[in-house]
Structure formats: structure tokens, C-alpha cells
Symmetry: C2
Subunit: 383 residues, 2 copies
């Protein structure tokens, strides 16, 4: 029986057309984009084409797109780059309690370097109140970083409102769009976004590639110093095959975004409705303002990791924010922020849909999941 | 006519066997190595196998190898990571005037953050006197960073001697081995190396992958904060296809290192001997203590970029350190450090051999190059 993959927020397989587009850049058009002769120029041209493709999707200019090694590097570059370049103006950063670890742990490190960070709270659905951002602003604030949509619970923030506040106070606005890029619309102009992170492997592109949109007016230090590639903002020989693959993936996925989003919302809501019927199943995240592909629950008296293994045994790949599943052995900071106790997030389960999931996959999960939960509760020490 | 590629120090094509090894990890074994279910485990196992392969080559342990996005990231992580983690102990860094820009520009940025850097000089062959390193050490010195072999002129440093000095003074010793890894032997134990950078795309592996060896006793901060991948030292979803490709490339190339080195030295020395016969051709770098694949000259009254275009017209890919070829429009800091005037480095030319170059490639260059130089001098404004 084939695997039913429902963990697309973790990573996605590279699409066939994407891999085909990448192939010539490994061994034939392998030139270094910084060199002057013909095969270097092929690489340079591919790089520039990719920049244009990505820029178009977010309504930016090509020369505002910097390619990186992924979402984590983009987030680190955004926050540290702005912090170090603007430390004469101020040392205060505003973010939220439910940001990705790439933001939270970057901020924690910056606190050790003398920066101050405000971690704004969220409501029980994971939504930030833009007024809380405005209230947190001081005359030392240099950047606000708020993700477009949360990777665990799928909640989508009111970015345009937050962006407007930042613009009013002349503070840089960064958004981590790693989970939302090419899934829901984003527009750096109408949402007043100065810096934006995205990643390739979440949208059927290769791993090891990401991008950072940087508005040309932003004062930012590089994170990787060296040969001054990428307009001096990100040194290191460009990973042309990866970049070309990322751009192809974004091109394909963005073209079909609206229709595919509607299709996934139907599957998502069917699964949510059915899982809600399981006894002591608790829904996490915002009921409507959420990613089309995200389903998140916690189950009383169930251990997330055990649940995952049972599902794997039935060929279903899902995800848990159980403490055991993380490197830090701590309960998820996101589930904690929306009010879950440690033992509740211990029983969490996330499904994230993808382009190849069909209704029968959902039906199979609906058939299998209640039985597994029942069986786990029978042997649970928590009940 | 097929291209004669003689710019292997810039980048190399991905070897066929390497690409074959990578392929399953794009769309089939695509799991996130951090996840718990079966396809995540496949990724994790591939990651660990790759770590072992790389570790063996430099005489390290597998858990001392951290995968990065390339040589530039590895160098930035090494220098900044040690600087920030040890700033309570001292703020002094020692490096050389001929390091790669990834080191030099990282050091320059750290100077703006309050660190002090000594850039040790080299002799006319590009060789560092280890005694100069020892003389530069103060009680504030926290790291010495010296490359194993230079990317422009190929000179190989006496690493073991420098390492011994660092160990004696209990100072961390980092080496940038990006150009030398799998070309000449390196041994982190016998050379007293605490941290070592290497890159995949210089050895027929894919671009966008590199590694940092970190001795477990080293106190170092991460550069990319986030989900604590790579033993907490480098966050970001692992680029499994790239990492597997890097390890395969290193495995293949290291097995044949000695024999291939000897073969290349013969070709190298033949080319050097013949180019030396050209009027006003000046050899750069160390005559014997140099990379097996590096040939570097400067030609009086010739402009490097023009030379490159003429060679490209004859299907030969080479490299120049002419100012026009760099993003900064400055003469090469390496050629300046070995005593060349700006107009001399302006006429520089580098050939770097690779595994697929045959003697007839060299013979063709020997046939073509003198004519091009003669013709360029005829029209030169410099003569």
C-alpha cells in the first residue's frame, strides 16, 4: 500500500517538472555565475530569470530578491542583519510568541548581544491583535517580525494591518512567509512588507534553497560575508540548480494557487468535521483564518509520538508537537501560547495536505484514526 | 569543438555517479530528517552515512561534522561563532592577508563589532611564516584562521606547524580547506586543527553544500539559529540530496587522491614550463609547495579580462584576478599581498586542472595562448 503523506508543512517531494528543470544545471550548465566566460553566463542568466519569477509572485522587483540556503537562513539574515545594521538607531525588536524557532531563537541570541525583544501574545486561536504590536513600539524599536501563517496551527495573521502600523511608525516590517508562500496571496506593497522570507522545499522545490525579499530602502548587514554575491547581501557561489528548481516550483504552484486552495479547504474542513466527532478531540488554531492545508488537534489521554507510530504503521505520515518529537524535549511554544497545558500539547496531531492528496486519503484517515485513538487510550497511563 | 574547462577552482561539474546517488532523495526519499516516521528515517540514515564518509577523510568523528550551505557559510560560522562565543575571553583574531574573502570580509565586519584582527603577511611565494603567527598572539587572541591552500595562487601553507603553535598557546585553530579538500591530504589530529571548512562544488559535488568540522571541545555559537538541527550547531531542514551528493563526491575523489594528484602535477608543470617561455610571463605562487591543479601567471601589457574572452573564443575556460572581473573592481588582495602592483595583477591568468583534463588539453593551451598574448599586446594601451 502506498504512503498517504500528510506532512507537507514539514517538507514536500520535488515535483517531476521541477527536477527536470534542474537537471541540466548539475553537470552541463554547471558554470559559476560569477565567471566571465560562456558557461558562467548561462548560469547568470538562469539566476536572473529565477529572480524575476519569484519577484513577480510577491509584487517585488527582481533586484530585491536574494537567494539563500532556506527559510532559516532568510529569517536569521533578516533579523540579525537589521539588528546589527541599525543598532545605532535602537535595540528593540518586536515579534510574537508563536513565531518559528528560526525567529525565536535568533531573537534569544540577540538578547545575549544586548538587544531587547518583546514577544507579543496571541489569542486562543493564535491570532495577534495588531494593537498589541502598536502598543509595544518604543522609540528604540527597529524591526517588527510577524509570520504570515503559523507552521503548527495554520493561523493566518492580519499582515496588512500590522504592516500599516509599522509603516506609520517608520519601523521595518519582516514577515516569515515560509509556510504560506504560494499557498495564500501575499503582496509586499499592499501589505507594507519590507522584508520577506520564503523557502523552496515547502512548495515542491528542492531543499537547501530559500529567498529573502529586501526592499531596496532597507538598511541591513549581510549574514554571510565573502565574495559579495547577490548584490553583496549574501556571499557564496550560487546554487544554480537549486535556485532554478525553486523558481520553477514557485511558478507552477502560484499559477494554480486559488483553485488548489479551494480544493484543499474542502478536504481540510471535511477532515476537521470528522475528527471533531472523536470523543475528547480538541481543535487547535483559527476556525476560518487558517492555511488551506492545515488540520491541528489535540486528543485527551493520547501521546502524540505513539499516535504517529500507529499512523505510520497504517501508512499515514503526520506530525506531532509532542515534546518527545522535538530536539529540546519541551512542549511546543505555539501550543503553549494558545493556552494548552504541557500534557495537552503532548497529545497533539497535525495533518498538512498537499497537491497530490485526494478525497480518498481523507476518507482513509477518518476510518483509521478513531480506532487508533481508542486503542491508545485503552493502554494510556494518562487516562 | 568541446570546451576545455580549466577553471576547476571556481567550480566543477557534478560527477555522473554523484548525480545518480542524489536522485532518489529529491522526490522519493524526500522526508524531513527531523520527522519520526519511516521516510523521515531514510533521510536521517542517509545524513548519518554522509557524516561518517566525510569524517573518515579528515580523521574526525562523525558527530564532529556539521553540514552547511557551502564554504562561505562554513567560514562565517567558524569565525563569527567563535568570536561571539568567546568574547569574554578575548577579542583578538589572527588570520592572513591572502585568505578567501569569506574570511577577510567576515573579519572586517567583526572589526566593526569591536574585535581586533591581525592580518599576517606572506612572502613573495604566498607562504606564511609560522613564527609570524606566534609573534602576533596576545593574551586576547581567541582564534587563528589560516587556509590550507590558496584559491588564486595555489600555495600550500605549513598547517601542522601553525597548528602546533596554536595548540601550545591554547588558541582555536581554524583552516579554510575549501580549495584543498580531497586534493591534498589533511588530518585534523596530526595538524592540530580544531575547525575546518570544506565545500562540495569544488570536488564534483553539487553547489549549495559544505561542511564544518568542529572539534567537540570548541566553544562556538551557531550562525543560523532555529530548530537546532546538526547537533544544535546549524538550524534549517537538512538538504539531504545535496549532502548525499557531497559525501559521494568526497568518497570518489579522496580514494584516488594520490594518483590523480601526481597526474595533475605532471600536466601542471608542463604547462608552467611552457608558459614561462612566453616573453614577459611571470609565474605567481610557490614553485613546489602548491596545489596539484593550480597554474597562475601575470603577463606584462595584457588585460586579464580581454585575455579571458579571447581564450573563451578558443573554447578555453580560465580565470583572471583582473580588477574588472571582481564585484569590487579592486586588484586581487592575494596578488597585492605577494607584491604585485595593480597593473600587474590586472594581467593575471589562472588555470586550474580537473580530473577530466588530458594532456592534449594542455598542448592546445600551449599552442593557443602565446598567439593570443602576442595579439593582445599588439593592441594594448599598456605597452
Amino acid at each position: 500500500m502506498k504512503k498517504i503523506y500528510l506532512d507537507h508543512a514539514a517538507t514536500t517531494p520535488v515535483a517531476k517538472e521541477v527536477l527536470e528543470t534542474m537537471k541540466p544545471y548539475f553537470s552541463e550548465k554547471f558554470g559559476n555565475a560569477s565567471t566571465l566566460y560562456s558557461i558562467g553566463k548561462e548560469a547568470k542568466e538562469a539566476l536572473n530569470r529565477s529572480r524575476k519569477t519569484i519577484a513577480r509572485i510577491i509584487n517585488a522587483r527582481a533586484n530585491e530578491i536574494i537567494f539563500t540556503s532556506g527559510g532559516t537562513e532568510s529569517d536569521n539574515l533578516a533579523i540579525k542583519g537589521i539588528a546589527f545594521a541599525n543598532k545605532d538607531k535602537g535595540n528593540h525588536i518586536i515579534t510574537s510568541k508563536i513565531e518559528h524557532k528560526a525567529i525565536i531563537n535568533t531573537c534569544k541570541w540577540l538578547e545575549k548581544q544586548g538587544f531587547k525583544v518583546t514577544y507579543v501574545s496571541v489569542d486562543k486561536n493564535g491570532l495577534i491583535n495588531p494593537e498589541d504590536i502598536e502598543r509595544a513600539i518604543t522609540n528604540k524599536t527597529i524591526i517588527v517580525s510577524i509570520m504570515q501563517a503559523n507552521n503548527e496551527i495554520g493561523t493566518i495573521q492580519n499582515l496588512a494591518e500590522i504592516g500599516k502600523i509599522c509603516r506609520k511608525h517608520k519601523i521595518y516590517f519582516h514577515t516569515d512567509a515560509v509556510q504560506s508562500f504560494c499557498k495564500i496571496p501575499i503582496n509586499v506593497k499592499s501589505m507594507y512588507i519590507d522584508i520577506l522570507s520564503a523557502s523552496s522545499h515547502k512548495i515542491y522545490g528542492p531543499k537547501g534553497v530559500g529567498m529573502l525579499y529586501i526592499n531596496r530602502k532597507v538598511n541591513i548587514d549581510p549574514l554571510l560575508h565573502g565574495g559579495n554575491h547577490e548584490y553583496g547581501m549574501r556571499s557564496g557561489t550560487e546554487n544554480i540548480a537549486g535556485i532554478v528548481g525553486f523558481a520553477k516550483a514557485a511558478e507552477i504552484i502560484s499559477q494554480n494557487m486559488k483553485k488548489e486552495g479551494e480544493r484543499q479547504i474542502k478536504l481540510r474542513d471535511k477532515l476537521i468535521t470528522e475528527v471533531n466527532k472523536i470523543k475528547d478531540a480538541h481543535f487547535n488554531g483559527h476556525p476560518t483564518q487558517r492555511l488551506p492545508n492545515n488540520i491541528n488537534f489535540w486528543f485527551k489521554g493520547v501521546e502524540g509520538e505513539a499516535l504517529l507510530f500507529r499512523l505510520d504503521g497504517k501508512n499515514i505520515c503526520a506530525s506531532t508537537q509532542s515534546a518527545c518529537s522535538s530536539y529540546e524535549l519541551k512542549p511546543s511554544h505555539v501550543l503553549t501560547a494558545i493556552g494548552l497545558a504541557a500534557e495537552q500539547s503532548h497529545g497533539s496531531l497535525r495533518f498538512t495536505l498537499g497537491k497530490d492528496n485526494k478525497e480518498q486519503d481523507i476518507d482513509y484517515v477518518i476510518e483509521v484514526l478513531p480506532k487508533i485513538i481508542k486503542s491508545l487510550r485503552r493502554i494510556s497511563p494518562f487516562k
